[in-house]
Symmetry: C2
Subunit: 304 residues, 2 copies
């Protein structure tokens, strides 16, 4: 099966502390969450690096999900390790430690079989690496990019990020990043400014309130599904991305209505991810359950 | 014309400082915003108190809007004066001074002609006064109540508030009040808890992100209209209430679809209010413009 979507991002081992419990060195990373989620919709090729401590069972899980791992490298050293925690509101994470390890010298190499993939997701990595990937690939139909406050506030990486925005079809940010990158304090002004900076479409992730998208086709808000219990919000944003991009890549339809449905799939996948630690929700997940969650969120948008 | 909706709340003179300009002693107060907005939909009767410094031109404006003023009192003393400001994000207001003046001894008296009104909005006043009004009126079809952190955190007023919640059809809170009143930190848990506390329906106002409603009919999110420029956010919440309640009272239809449309009218009126100081947006407002704004917000909810 030809790779239809490529993701370039991090592979991590996360130590997560919630007010209920702590889990040590569980499977994480943007590329992991994204590709796991998107694998329910389309054939995904993953580009990422792990160290020798990365358990074979993780690789086996990703392969079982049908993910093409020819862009995955395992090198000498330790896997990227992030330790962080959440308060009872499960809002912004508090970082305890970040050990980049092998991720520090990550240099994404795309297998030939990935270069013609029509969908590309550049997860949150150094903008210079995101730029390099854009230059390598053969004109994808859709390039989406995620970033973070760290790259936005550093003047050097900021200028690289700014230079690639005109090549981006969908820019993913959260509310705080929208303000930082646009220099505008209200959402309405930030959205307008960001669209002037080059990306054809913007997606602002709003946590427990869902996400909004804006483009020349207008604005649309996707509600969040009200999970009875949040277990671990790590990966919710990349899961949103995986659901959004997966739904688009599955149909290959880039109409305004298709983008709005993709927002609801993004919301659905974010809500499923937070119901368990790591990618554990997906160990026994079915497409039927995903479509049921999508339908429930769709219901929440219907006026009459 | 019979009074179809009664509002009991504050009448104020507000001194507003934004990063652009300061306006002194302009018309404000929850009953003012609510009744001005709701007057575009139905016959409103207002209950409130002002002092001798309250300009006749304000009374003339409210009368011109068709508002029944027989519940309005003007007494010796000065009108409630609130001074506050907003930062560039137009988020939570910073209070500079609060002079309750005649509002401190406000004792709402309902004219006989108000007691059979089918719709009642208890704006943010002392819970004991809200309770008194509920006991005076003759079984309205719908009682809505707004409150604030001040009444929630004071143990004495908290217990009164708790005691009236089972008599409330629609409880209005913002995100912070939802957490305070429920004792729950995530939105999903707070909403479930608040519905268990008695009100049949909850509306959580979310500022620039719109508002959500929850009841046994499910959850619904109403997006906010992305105003190009926010001039003054004062009164946005009461304007949301006025649009929501006004739309329900106009049709008299309390179906789930009607509530969802009411949410969009609430969002529309909130967005119109913030485009100017005080109730100034409504000095030249037409119902056509309101319905146009409603249609634009409706468009933002449509998936396909």
């Amino acid at each position: 099966m030809t790779v239809n979507m490529v993701v370039v991002g991090s592979i991590a081992l996360d130590t997560i502390k919630t007010f209920r419990e702590t889990r040590e060195r569980i499977l994480g990373g943007s590329a992991t969450f994204f590709s796991t989620v998107a694998s329910f919709f389309t054939k995904v090729g993953m580009v990422g690096v792990a160290g020798r401590d990365f358990d074979n069972k993780h690789i086996a899980f990703l392969r079982e999900r049908g993910i093409d791992m020819s862009g995955f490298e395992q090198v000498e050293g330790k896997t990227f390790h992030w330790a962080g925690g959440y308060g009872e509101d499960f809002g912004d994470a508090t970082t305890h430690t970040t050990e980049l390890n092998v991720f520090e010298t990550f240099d994404p190499k795309l297998p030939e079989s990935y270069k013609n993939a029509p969908f590309l997701f550049l997860a949150n990595i150094h903008p210079a690496l995101q730029k390099k990937v854009i230059e390598i690939v053969n004109k994808p139909r859709l390039i989406a990019l995620d970033t973070m406050n760290f790259w936005i506030t550093n003047p050097q990486t900021h200028s690289i990020l700014i230079s690639i925005l005109p090549h981006i079809d969908v820019l993913f940010v959260n509310r705080q990043e929208a303000a930082l990158l646009s220099g505008e304090r209200t959402l309405a002004r930030a959205v307008r400014k960001l669209l002037e900076m080059g990306p054809k479409r913007l997606v602002v992730k709003l946590g427990e309130l869902g996400a909004m998208t804006a483009s020349k086709d207008g604005w649309f808000f996707a509600p969040a599904f009200p999970c009875a219990e949040i277990v671990d919000p790590t990966g919710a944003g990349d899961s949103f991305g995986g659901g959004f991009m997966g739904a688009l890549a599955e149909k290959g339809d880039l109409s305004p209505a298709s983008y709005r449905k993709a927002m609801l799939y993004g919301s659905a996948m974010g809500s499923i991810t937070v119901e368990d630690f790591s990618i554990d929700s997906y160990r026994t997940m079915t497409r039927g359950h995903i479509d049921d969650r999508f339908a429930k969120i769709m219901e929440m948008t219907k006026v009459a």
